[in-house]
């Protein structure tokens, strides 16, 4: 009898799992013993870190987009209809056209920035966390003649270093075009330091001071007045801006919420070591879709994919799923237009940053291309 695996979501995590699984179990797929189906909601695959570059006119969406079917192993069934329900009792995924039964399910539906979660933000703010947002913001950044650019950050959000990269790149950009003296850059952060990771915060503050970037800690955006251009902090203070760049709270995919599987924000309760959905032995959750207290990042998805694929293979071969996710994450940090550094950590090991260098910057830039090998399951 054919065993059926469904991977829901064709982003970083879903594509990697599907490809690695198909590669490792090619014989079973060819013999008809195994069927791997990936259900996405679009036929395009977008490399999201590209949005940051788009905001500074360092690239266009097409450059960061591929057709999903060309990234996938040829024996993976690819369906781009989008799921409207996840029926974990009946073990099936329902799209507007069809119903797909599974033996094992991998949920990889990601997260999205919710600009509607703060009153006034959608009308008064910009974001570079979506393709449309990055395009709108690019226009504002390139036409900005002077005034205050303010960055606000909310939790949860993906890629915890992107907001820092944004402010450093903005500093470089306005220096390059010669109007930095007219641009006031103001970075804010919800807690008592400028980044949740202490070493990153220490390093960033030094950079802020060197570059004349203002920063405000304990800033939790509660509302925005789009007319008056004021951002309100939870402590009641008012912060005027000319251009507001927000990283709003993220939510899990709508289908997760509609299916009643997520918490109040749509993130799925997941075992931090086995990556199984709580209470479900046949459902794995991976990437941004989990409720785990780990960074929502492509690299996290990558390390989790290793564990999920190995465990799926074990289970298909009748072995116990013995592999454990140890919380590993890795992030490059662009420290300007020409330099970068990186951090890595896991559940037990706190991160230590390395000195920024031009080489790491080039490595990050080349990763923008290497990503496609990674998604294909080659790297």
């Amino acid at each position: 009898m054919t065993r059926r695996i469904i991977i829901l979501g064709g982003g970083v995590a879903g594509t990697m799992v599907a490809n690695r699984l198909a590669k490792s179990m090619e014989d079973e797929i060819y013999s008809g013993a195994l069927e791997v189906t990936l259900i996405g909601d679009t036929d395009r695959h977008i490399y999201q870190p590209g949005f940051l570059f788009m905001a500074f006119n360092e690239g266009f969406l097409e450059q960061f987009t591929r057709e999903e079917k060309y990234l996938l192993h040829p024996k993976i069934n690819f369906v781009a209809d989008g799921a409207v329900n996840i029926d974990v009792e009946g073990k099936k995924i329902i799209t507007p056209k069809q119903s797909f039964a599974y033996d094992f399910l991998v949920i990889a539906t990601g997260s999205y920035p919710d600009m509607d979660s703060v009153p006034g933000l959608a009308a008064g703010g910009h974001t570079f966390y979506t393709p449309e947002g990055a395009e709108r913001l690019r226009y504002e950044m390139l036409n900005f003649q002077g005034g205050t650019i303010m960055v606000t950050i909310d939790v949860p959000h993906k890629c915890p270093v992107a907001p820092l990269e944004f402010i450093f790149m903005a500093d470089d950009y306005y220096r390059d075009i010669g109007i930095r003296d007219k641009v006031r850059l103001k970075y804010t952060y919800p807690i008592g330091r400028v980044h949740s990771l202490e070493p990153v915060a220490k390093w960033a503050v030094k950079e802020f001071e060197k570059r004349g970037i203002e920063y405000e800690v304990f800033f939790n955006l509660e509302a925005v007045d789009p007319e008056k251009k004021i951002a309100y902090n939870m402590d009641g203070s008012e912060h005027p801006y000319d251009l507001l760049v927000a990283v709003p709270p993220h939510r899990g995919a709508r289908v997760v919420r509609d299916a009643g599987l997520g918490d109040e924000d749509g993130f799925i309760p997941t075992d931090r070591y086995t990556l199984k959905m709580e209470g479900r032995d046949d459902v794995y959750v991976i990437g941004d879709a989990t409720n785990l207290p780990v960074s929502k990042a492509g690299s996290t998805a990558h390390y989790e994919a290793d564990v999920v694929v190995k465990n799926l293979i074990s289970e298909l071969k009748g072995l116990p799923p013995s592999h454990r996710y140890n919380g590993k994450a890795f992030c490059f940090i662009e420290t300007g237009m020409n330099e970068a550094t990186y951090i890595t950590f896991n559940y037990k090991q706190p991160p230590r940053p390395v000195p920024p260098s031009e080489m790491l910057h080039w490595f990050k830039l080349s990763y923008n291309e290497m990503y496609w090998l990674s998604a294909r399951g080659i790297l």
Binding site: P156, L197, F218, N220, M234, P293
Partner: protein, 79 residues
């Protein structure tokens, strides 16, 4: 001592990024006035960071105590 009704316990042990306090901020922003969130943190820094944040933002620290190898910190959303 009157009984404390915990709305939700957030297990942020092993979290460096976003980190325990950020997990708490998320819950508080999302929650209702009067809710009490209990944070479990393996990072001793939380015992200082969390009360400081609660104080600045005007919420209420219910307790902050050490358990076996981790911290239990409860916060009431007051506004």
């Amino acid at each position: 001592m009157s009984e404390i009704n915990i709305t939700k316990t957030i297990d942020a042990r092993g979290s460096y990024c976003p980190g325990p306090l950020m997990e708490l901020v998320k819950a508080i922003k999302r929650g209702q006035v009067g809710d009490v969130y209990e944070l479990l943190s393996g990072d001793s820094g939380s015992a200082k960071d969390v009360p400081e944040w609660v104080n600045k933002m005007g919420h209420e620290l219910v307790y902050c105590k050490e358990d076996e190898g981790f911290w239990r910190i409860a916060v009431r959303k007051t506004k």
